[in-house]
């Protein structure tokens, strides 16, 4: 297990070009144990390419990707599209991780799909498949969890629950998490640090701050930024019953309170 203090992954001015077109442009990034870092950005911003570089399956053109020694990575891909001709149960799929059955079962229980162990993967819903992929990654006991749009194909209630689960898992396993997401509102509530990528890192920081960033507004447009700003309005202060502003800044660690302030 890598030591606590050094970063699990550090990217040093990573540039990836396809046909001389930079898809990822001089990106610096560090993920520590306990971090949840979310990458957001428009389509074609290089998000998936960037995390593939982190995973070591995308060669970088310039710069360096440094992984901590003996790092175990758990990867949750965007989809599990299984060829319909391939008969496969959840149990068999988990066993292919090479971990013993008891650990596989424990991982399934953690992500809430333990009861599906004998089901065919072809019969799972989108949300169940995502939880299965998450369990598959957990069975490896990862130091770093990498997720590519984990909530794709999951209904809105399921999405919130899934991000919640990812946060819980971070706390239990004390691993680092890096994920790509489009669900801006949910991400803003669940993450520690947001990186807005548009080939280069156009802005990064705490969710509450980033929606005010001019670069963010330029990338996502005024309406998105405004809707998030309204949402984050409540992060900065609270109102008393008369609607007057109560002083006191709510820090990023108190997301739960922010949620309450909404109602």
């Amino acid at each position: 297990m890598p030591p606590m203090t050094e970063p699990l992954v550090s990217l040093d001015r990573v540039t990836i070009t396809f046909d001389d077109r930079p898809v990822v442009d001089r990106v610096d990034l560090k993920v520590h144990r306990g971090d949840i870092i979310t990458i957001i950005g428009p389509n074609g911003a290089g998000k998936t390419t960037l995390i593939k570089a982190v995973l070591g399956i995308q060669p970088v053109t310039e710069g360096a990707v440094k992984l901590a020694r003996n790092l175990t990575v758990g990867y949750v891909p965007q989809h599990l599209i299984l060829e319909s001709t391939l008969p496969l149960t959840v149990r068999r799929f988990m066993a292919l991780s090479g971990r013993p059955g008891s650990e596989c079962q424990a991982a399934l229980e953690k992500t809430g799909v333990g009861h599906l162990v004998d089901a065919s993967i072809h019969h799972l819903s989108g949300g169940e498949k995502q939880r299965l992929l998450l369990a598959r990654a957990l069975a490896r006991k990862p130091d770093l969890l990498v997720l590519d749009e984990p909530a794709q194909g999951v209904d809105i209630n399921g999405q919130a629950a899934l991000y919640d689960l990812i946060r819980q898992l971070r706390d239990q396993l004390h691993c680092g998490v890096i994920m790509i997401s489009h669900d801006l509102h949910l991400v803003m509530a669940a993450t520690d640090k947001v990186i807005c990528l548009n080939q280069h890192i156009c802005c990064s920081g705490y969710p509450a701050d980033i929606s005010h960033d001019p670069a963010f507004i330029e990338t996502f447009g005024q309406p998105v930024a405004e809707s998030l700003a309204v949402y984050h309005h409540h992060h900065n202060h609270r109102h008393d019953l008369h609607g007057d502003v109560v002083s006191g800044v709510v820090t990023d660690d108190n997301h739960q309170e922010c949620d309450h302030a909404h109602h």
Binding site: Y75, P77, L88, L96
Partner: protein, 270 residues
Amino acid sequence: MPIIDAILDDFFWRALLGGLGVALVAGPLGCFVVWRRMAYFGDTLAHSALLGIALSFLISVPLNVGVIITCVVLAIALVLLSRSHTLATDTLLGILAHSALAIGLVTLSFMPDVRVDLTGLLFGDLLAMSRDDLLWIYGGALLILLLLVMLWRSLLMSTIHEELARVEGIPVERLRLVLMLMFSLVIAVAMKIVGVLLITALLIIPAATARRLARSPEHMTLLAVMFGFVAVGGGLTLSWHLDTPAGPSVVVTAFSVFLLIYGGARQTQA
């Protein structure tokens, strides 16, 4: 061993033994063809076997060796060409499959001294199985089965999700190459019995039939081997009694079993 000698002296038994040996590896490899959607790819390799035969005559090497080398070279060329993305993979496969077949036929026509039974090569020949061929088949089958057992988990994982497999440290590209080598080998040894035009059928039909009843990947491969045995046994018997061409008879039997299983299973499910 007089009994074994008697069996090996009989061309029908040689053909049957050879056919069962081929079915033994065509089952699991056929499953990978189906799972990885490589049917057209297998066809292309098989078509190029005829080019391999022509080249073997040209440079005087054993037919099996020539076929294996040609298939491997073509497989590697295919992988490299399909990376450039200028042509869709199926277009590329179509071009290479038929060009290889045509070049093979044209080359053969330039060699009047070489007497080849073209029908036998294209559609299989019950009489063509020699003792040497049997050695090739069982040697090849042993090698393929050994590789499959050793690499099973990695092969399966990279079939299910290539990226996930790569992240978990499975050498996906190298496995793809090994799989192609195995295809080339099975084409080289199966050619004598079912013929180059029908080899893919012996790979796909038993595997597809097995899918209907299979509960796991391993179960499916076992069933595919079993259906392959039935196809070879039934087809060669048909060929022997009715004097039909060996390859088509095997494929017709395989297809009949396919219809039976799919028709029958639908009834039980309804």
